[in-house]
């Protein structure tokens, strides 16, 4: 059991982080805290992808010999996985866009109801 | 290990020592201003020292001349930015604290 834990501690931490974020999104009452939870959830997913693309003993995915590199054989195992990185670049940018929209909405909601507290806002709205 | 490596080790130790001092100061100093002071001063100095260690290491392990020069240049730029940025940020935080009326620590206030 302990051996397995150490072998996969990376993925376990990933799941823990994601669940912290999900819990904040579902159960926290404060709107800003919900936004933070959303960002934490997204970084958890990004960590998941990045750790599946990591390789032991690899270097950055930047090939040497810039101008006539085509003549050298490239061993893929020596370089970190570029594909997961691209996917996560996209995910980061999408994440910050969503965060911006969520924060904007939170700010507007606050100005209407003078509170970030979800229950209080709902009380006010149902009046 | 060449002499430059030893110098790098020396710098690293010095940097870590000052970082430790910063951390202790941040925790142990009595009020807002002194804590920020510790963070601003110690942080900057120890970053400088560690960057110097990096430069020494890069020079002693260099393979191609141009690459090392570029690397050292980049490290110098980082040092420059830390040198400008860190004290300014500390100043901004302190100034904001002063404007909004955070009180000083006095000897007789420390019970």
């Amino acid at each position: 059991m302990l051996q397995e834990l150490i072998a996969s501690y990376n993925y376990i931490i990933v799941v823990v982080i994601m669940m912290i974020g999900l819990w904040a999104m579902l159960a926290k009452q404060n709107l800003i805290k919900k936004c933070i939870g959303m960002a934490i959830f997204q970084t958890g997913i990004i960590l998941f992808y990045i750790s599946m693309g990591a390789k032991k003993g690899s270097t950055l995915p930047i090939l040497e010999h810039a101008h006539d590199g085509a003549h050298h054989a490239v061993v893929a195992a020596h370089y970190a996985n570029p594909l997961t990185q691209i996917l996560m670049l996209t995910a980061i940018v999408v994440g910050v866009a969503t965060l911006g929209v969520a924060l904007t909405l939170a700010q507007k909601v606050y100005q209407q109801n003078r509170s970030y507290h979800e229950d209080k806002i709902l009380e006010k709205l149902s009046k | 290990m060449s002499i430059l490596d030893w110098i790098a080790v020396l710098f690293l130790f010095a940097g870590s020592f000052f970082f430790l001092g910063t951390a202790i100061g941040l925790l142990r100093f009595p009020d807002f201003y002194t804590r920020t002071h510790a963070a601003g001063k110690g942080d900057t100095l120890s970053s400088f020292l560690i960057l110097a260690a990096c430069m020494c290491y890069a020079i002693s392990h260099s393979h191609d001349g141009l690459g090392t020069v570029l690397l050292v240049l980049k490290l110098l730029f980082i040092a420059n930015f830390i040198g400008i940025g860190s004290p300014t940020a500390t100043h901004a935080i302190m100034d904001a604290g002063y404007e909004t009326g955070v009180t000083h620590w006095h000897k007789d206030k420390a019970k």
Partner: protein, 497 residues
């Protein structure tokens, strides 16, 4: 140019959105024509693609000319070609319809509104056409972000509703992305065709199972399937009229499409129904969804809110049909995607017309509405009849296939739920008839000879006409049902079962 048609239909709205922003900053009134033109282009392109698929079978398009698993690929088969036509045509009609209502509700935001409007259509078309699991995520986020903004443009209560929608929408998207990650870690590819080839040998893998469940869960959150349907009603009710007309018919249907696509193309029906064999639970959940949606709809005193709960019930139809596990159910579900898109569009457009003239849609104030707005109510009646399932409207045929699928699978509760939902729809319909037709305008008793007194206050023609076109389409789709089934849905079903 015809070979470029698949990408043209995505790119036309995207580029139009840029020009709407650029030109609309200086001349806001040009933004509407640009939007309509771009959507027309994409409708024509989608019809062209549809004909290509009908005559030549499934089409592929390689973006950037990179071969399939390495670049991003478009795959257009029978299922999504029809959906593409539906989305682009409905969007064009809604764009025509939107002109007056947006001018009235959001006069100072025309350029922003139409920019997001066409980008939402880009996102929906892109989700439907793409053959790459991650590209789908990006487009899902485009569609989601645009719809958040389109809903939040109406101030007031819509803001909090949108905030909840943002939270649920991001949970759904994150689950989808995570599910794709679980598949990706086992297969190393994102291309759907390639995924399905590799997954055949991985059916026993736990990671693949978790990935599948996560994707389906994510889509359920996105489409507001039963336990997580809470956000939908408020978000759709408080949105601007034109936004509801665009988002309510298309957004949820596209999520259903993604679910069916993942079930049939990425995985196989053999995996979903034989290997996992908990589809019965899902059908039961769908029955509950239909019941809950119908009951909630029945208890509303506001027409628009009532309609949003009907959307929840309709989602139960499609999910249940897709998970019945037999060809009839799947036929019903896929057919219902098209039919329901048209039905909901028709109903929400009619409701929008009422809001335009009336200001609100509280049932109590709709007395005499049939006399005031006869054309609007004609569209509403056709839409509602289709919702109930009266032939020859298309709602009848989808319900027919769904019910026969339920009987074939022995899922009696699903059949009962369908019938119950029809009954509720009929009750709602007759209640509106009662209030709107027989309800008196003033205090005096209704008199059939006094019709002349009531001034006809119809919504503008640019709103009524698109709605009537959709209403006509409801009957048209119903009449050509056999063609649609045999030409479009049958090839799909025979490929999957």
């Amino acid at each position: 140019m015809s070979t470029q048609a698949p990408v043209l239909m995505i790119i036309a709205p995207l580029i139009a959105s840029i020009f709407i922003t650029l030109i609309g900053w200086f001349r806001p009134k040009f933004s509407h024509p640009i939007a309509v033109i771009s959507l027309l282009i994409s409708s024509i392109a989608s019809i062209q693609v549809f004909q290509m698929v009908l005559s030549n079978g499934p089409q592929q398009y390689f973006l950037g000319n990179w071969p399939a698993p390495f670049g991003i690929e478009y795959v257009i088969d029978h299922l999504n070609s029809l959906l593409l036509v539906t989305i682009s045509v409905v969007a064009t009609l809604v764009a025509l319809y939107a002109k007056r209502s947006v001018e009235k509700e959001l006069p100072d935001k025309l350029a922003n509104y139409y920019t997001l409007f066409v980008l939402l259509v880009t996102g929906l078309l892109g989700i439907s056409i793409t053959g790459d699991a991650f590209n789908l995520y990006v487009l899902l986020e485009i569609a989601a972000l645009t719809s958040y903004a389109l809903i939040a443009f109406a101030k007031g209560r819509s803001l909090m509703a949108t905030f909840n929608y943002v939270m649920m929408g991001s949970i759904g998207a994150c689950f989808y992305l995570l599910g794709v990650g679980y598949l990706f870690i086992k297969t190393g590819t994102l291309n759907m065709t390639n995924l399905s080839q590799i997954l055949v040998s991985l059916h026993m893998s736990q990671a693949v199972l978790v990935g599948f469940v996560l994707i389906i869960l994510g889509m359920w959150v996105k489409m507001a399937f039963f336990p997580v349907h809470g956000w939908l009603s408020n978000a759709y009710t408080y949105a601007p009229t034109a936004s509801t007309c665009l988002i309510a018919p298309l957004m949820t249907k596209v999520s259903v499409y993604v679910m069916i696509r993942v079930m049939t193309s990425v995985f196989s029906t053999e995996y979903v129904f034989n290997h996992l064999s908990w589809h019965l639970v899902v059908v039961a959940m769908a029955s509950v969804a239909i019941l809950v949606g119908s009951m909630m709809a029945l208890s509303q005193r506001d027409l628009k809110k009532c309609m949003t709960y009907l959307v929840v019930a309709e989602i139960g139809y499609m999910v249940g049909g897709a998970w019945l596990g037999n060809p009839a159910g799947m036929t019903g579900a896929t057919y219902h995607i098209i039919a329901d898109a048209a039905m909901t569009a028709c109903l929400f457009m009619a409701v929008g017309c009422i809001i335009y003239k009336h200001g609100h849609t509280s049932l109590d104030t709709m007395k005499g509405i049939f006399r005031k707005m006869p054309l609007t109510m004609l569209g509403f009646v056709v839409g509602m009849l289709s919702m109930i399932g009266v032939p020859p409207t298309c709602g009848f045929f989808s319900k027919w296939y769904l019910i026969s699928g339920a009987i074939e699978a022995g899922q009696w509760h699903f059949m009962l739920a369908l019938l119950f939902s029809s009954l509720v729809n009929a009750i709602i319909f007759f209640r509106i008839i009662e209030i709107g037709f027989f309800g008196s305008l003033g205090s005096e008793t209704p008199d059939p000879h006094e019709h002349q007194d009531v001034a006809v206050k119809e919504a503008p023609l640019s709103m009524v006409l698109p709605m009537l076109v959709v209403a006509g389409a409801l009957i048209g789709i119903g009449i050509y049902t056999s063609d649609i089934i045999s030409l479009v849905i049958q090839p799909l079903i025979s490929a999957t079962f």
